[in-house]
């Protein structure tokens, strides 16, 4: 036991600060400092002055995830901590957590836990990977990067090929019946759709190109796939909606475009990680 964290070595203190950052990340901003102080006291109770980064990590591993009593508004969870690839992966793919709906990565509301969905469908075991995406091999990440890249290419190709023939303005909003409203100039709509698809795809692609894997890259790829898929669908819808007809299925399809391809990408990466673990332990027999 130590009285003050100042008694720790600089290395242990740095490791502790990193662990505290990770542990309090899911906590609402207004509660974060109090939780951090409580956790720091817990670490102080369990560390001595000779402790190193490994000791800090061992205690952090026993602290556990934030309790399910999430901060929020009127029972709806709220998270204002900045989103990251790792956060996306841990929220959207957590097969050990039985909840199908988990707090959103950023903002108010819920997101789908595709890991829980895959377990319920019997597609994967809750503990298929020791740590999700940590053993997923580089070729699987490269293959997964093709999904947002292809969707982004399709959006760009659509505007390049069909752009000259499109009306001067395209709808920017959808009403409940799926009709287009709030028209904006076509070049602005094109720039918007291309940016929404291309920026996250470039970010995820840069991680893959740099040979980085793990949950951060998996989350980046899932987020990029969502953005590119929504953008591709909106591109198609904008063009079709210029006829003013109602398309009640358009809204639900946007939601499907937002979630299903990202779920498929995470599932594929997790299966690749599971296979890699089996090859490691079973020597190629599986």
């Amino acid at each position: 036991m130590i009285v003050s964290l100042e008694e720790l070595s600089p290395q242990a203190r740095a490791a502790l600060n990193t662990e505290l950052d990770v542990l309090v990340a899911p906590v609402a901003a207004e509660d974060r400092q109090a939780v951090r102080e409580a956790l720091a006291a817990h670490f102080a109770d369990n560390l001595d002055a000779t402790a190193g980064p490994a000791d800090v990590a061992a205690i952090a591993a026993t602290v556990g995830d934030a309790e399910s009593e999430q901060p929020g508004r009127f029972g709806v969870p709220l998270d204002l901590a900045p989103p990251s690839g790792e956060k996306v992966a841990r929220s959207w793919w957590n097969p050990r957590d039985e909840r199908l709906f988990v707090p959103r990565v950023f903002g108010l509301g819920w997101a789908i836990n595709f890991g829980a969905a895959a377990v319920k469908l019997g597609l994967i075991e809750p503990d298929a990977e020791d740590e999700p995406f940590e053993t997923t091999p580089a070729p699987a990440f490269r293959a997964a990067a093709l999904a947002p890249a292809a969707l982004t290419a399709a959006v760009i190709a659509h505007y390049v090929v069909r752009g000259p023939g499109l009306p001067d303005q395209l709808p920017n909003q959808m009403d409940l019946a799926g009709r287009g409203t709030d028209p904006i100039p076509t070049p602005v709509a094109a720039a918007l759709d291309i940016a929404v698809a291309a920026i996250p795809t470039a970010w995820a692609g840069s991680l893959v190109a740099a040979g980085k894997g793990g949950p951060r890259t998996a989350g980046a790829l899932a987020a990029a796939t969502t953005a590119a898929s929504v953008s591709a669908w909106l591109t198609v819808w904008r063009t079709a909606a210029t006829d003013g007809k109602a398309r009640p299925w358009a809204g639900p399809l946007v939601l499907a475009a937002a979630w299903l391809p990202a779920g498929a990408v995470l599932f594929g990466l997790a299966r690749a990680g599971r296979t890699a673990e089996q090859v490691r332990d079973l020597g190629g027999k599986k």
Binding site: A58, A61, R96, E98, E125, P126, D130, D281, K286
Partner: protein
């Protein structure tokens, strides 16, 4: 009465949370087990009220702490399974936790019996 029941339930829940690690380590000390086997064996003790949603995150935490190890093994009936086993550090932790649990149980029993 309702508040009393709620208080009692909350207390029981906290107590179960406190011993679930000991239960998992104790089972794995007997023999390595795979995930769903661990869930079934724990579910056979209804007093513990432990579900898969508790067991799998806990197993991951114990593995991160180096108290248990995991390894895929071929199964004679069906696909390979991931088995968990205690590490030497896990055996030490189990011994320490068992001793603490026994001491606490003895102390509480003494107090409660004196109160009677």
């Amino acid at each position: 009465m309702l508040a009393m029941d709620k208080e009692q339930e909350g207390w029981s829940s906290q107590l179960r949370k406190g011993v679930v690690e000991l239960a998992v380590l104790g089972l794995l000390a007997r023999e390595p087990r795979y995930g769903s086997q661990l869930v079934d064996d724990l579910a056979a003790q209804p007093e513990l009220a432990i579900t898969a949603g508790t067991v799998y995150p806990l197993v991951a935490r114990l593995a991160r702490a180096g108290l248990i190890s995991s390894r895929w093994q071929e199964s004679p009936v069906g696909p390979p399974r991931k088995y968990y086993a205690l590490t030497p550090a896990g055996h030490d932790a189990l011994a320490a936790m068992s001793a603490t649990f026994a001491n606490v149980a003895t102390a509480i029993r003494t107090i409660v019996e004196v109160e009677k």
